[in-house]
């Protein structure tokens, strides 16, 4: 059984009299440990799919099962609990809490879990070490560079050992050099820690760090993994 099972997922938006359907009966499986890059032109529904999987938006139809939990049926509060325990979210812009230090920002998701202070401290230190920011623990977001802020955001996403991490164009607001460093970091986290990731990106080069590449087009998912992985631009078995 796949870690993520998405079936018949449909999401519509109304814009005046017009109805836009960015996701139309989408099916998708993501195996544990996969690093899935989701590409597509603007407005094709990449972020919508990611937000539905993250449980911060509601589908009009279909089901999303993550590690045995059918999240479309959860109430708002239960969904929040599920996110706290199972989801790491990396934002495009850093979205750190400005009044908290790097350490406190990373610790934030752990405050929602039944962990002792010592356990929280240990986990935060490990997460900050994983992103190479042990020397910036007491810095506030305004005292960090864009790349460092994004690293803190990544540490915050991984610190609770979530079942899946979603990243919404994590390098979209960074310069080329910093973007490359973040790509390397994400790839390493997937390889070394075995973290399952779904990353939305416009950039083919960024997508190449994934172990699997999908393309969203007119509400459908198309498998777009480069040939080195065996397939390219062929409809995925689970995609319609």
């Amino acid at each position: 059984m796949a870690l993520v099972e998405i079936r018949n997922l449909t999401k519509c938006f109304r814009k005046g009299d017009e109805t836009i359907t960015p996701l139309d009966n989408v099916d998708l499986d993501i195996e544990s440990g996969q690093f899935v890059a989701l590409m597509g032109a603007s407005g094709t529904g990449k972020s919508t799919l990611l937000n539905l999987l993250a449980g911060i938006d509601r589908a009009d139809q279909g089901s999303i099962n993550v590690a045995g939990t059918e999240i479309t049926r959860l109430s708002r509060s239960r969904l929040a609990d599920w996110r706290a325990a199972n989801l790491g979210y990396i934002f495009q812009t850093q979205n750190l809490i400005p009044v908290l230090t790097a350490y406190e920002n990373v610790e934030l998701p752990l405050l929602l879990l039944p962990l002792s202070g010592a356990e929280r401290r240990k986990r935060v230190e490990v997460a900050l070490e994983a992103v190479g920011l042990t020397d910036r623990v007491d810095h506030y977001p305004r005292q960090l560079s864009g790349g460092q802020e994004q690293r803190v955001g990544i540490a915050r996403a991984i610190v609770a050992h979530p079942a899946i991490i979603v990243a919404d164009e994590p390098t979209g607001s960074l310069d080329a050099t910093t973007s490359e460093q973040i790509q390397v970091l994400l790839g390493r986290l997937n390889r070394e820690l075995g973290m399952t990731m779904l990353m939305v990106t416009h950039d083919q080069q960024v997508a190449s760090i994934g172990t699997r590449c999908l393309r969203l087009d007119r509400g459908r998912i198309i498998e777009a993994t480069p040939k080195r992985h065996g397939r390219q631009e062929q409809p995925h078995a689970m995609a319609r």
Binding site: R76, A84, R156
Partner: protein, 380 residues
Amino acid sequence: MFRFTPYVIKSLWRRRARTLLTVSGAAVALLVFCFVGSVQEGLRRLTEDEHAQRTLIVFQENRFCPTSSRLPHDYADRIRTVPGVADVVPVLVWTNNCRAILDAIVFNGLPVGKLRSARDLQLTSGDWTEFAGRHDAALVGRTVARRHNLAMGEQFSIGEISVRVAGVFESAVPAEENLIYTDLPFLQYTPGMNAAGLVTQHEVHLTDDAEPEAVARAIDQALKAGPVATTTRRKGAFQASVLSDLVDLIGFAHWLGYACVALVLSLVATTTVMSVQDRIREHAVLQTLGLRPARIFRLVIAESLLMCVFGGVLGTIAALALIASGGMAIGAEGVTIAFRPSWQLGAMGIAVSLAVGVLAAIVPAFQAARTQIVSALRNA
């Protein structure tokens, strides 16, 4: 439960100018609220406590100012014969001003023996022997002594009255501490008083089983044939009647107290709304990280509560300190209302701060908790 306390405090500190202005606004409003409350409490003590309900005042009919009420001293003997009367204390009152004034000097002349039995006075300096032994001796209430810097052994004069301080007293009845007591004959025979054989009022103490209104009627009936007609009322009702102008003013002032509460409510609500609107995205991020809407609600309430309670406690403490150190009293017609700090007043100030802190934040907290995460992340 308190894991998010640093976040709440840092969020307030981040906008410290706004927070400090709100806190100081709440402090000033609560200071005024407590001050108004202390005046009301003083009036309530004066008119509603047990002593005020179980003691009668016999006053000259249709007179309100102590300078115009003149009753024969010997009415005391006739009053004493009325069933239900336990004791009668003749009192001659002199005041430097019958109008509402913040610094009224009120002399009460009582027979020395009656003064000890009818009043619960504790001398903080001087002694009763000195008071009983000197014709012009006066016992000065602690508040008056502090306000006019009077000490044991000092001689002072007000108008035609010249006395020597034989002691300073404190009393369980705060209004008493605004009075100066002398021996009754001394005041009656003071030049200019023209009060030989006269008193301003008779204070009637009742037996335990007496019904005050019935005894009051019986006294007026018994004195009906005398040279001066009387009106007898409970001490509380008498004092409320004497202070009627002030009672109206204090009644108006209590609206001022409510206005202060409304002001804090509006001030804190505005600050909280602004804070929530500034942080729509931040609240969406917190929800994405897994904070339940109810927790977001509580965080917003906590911020408002902290500002309000901090300001409220500061204002309440400042008000209580001001009242305690100022020794303020307002008086008219020889009756004074003492402003006194009390635990009840402090508790009321803090309770109002708590209630306002919660009320002011309910709507913005609800808005923050209902934030749609995706649109907030996209648009804010």
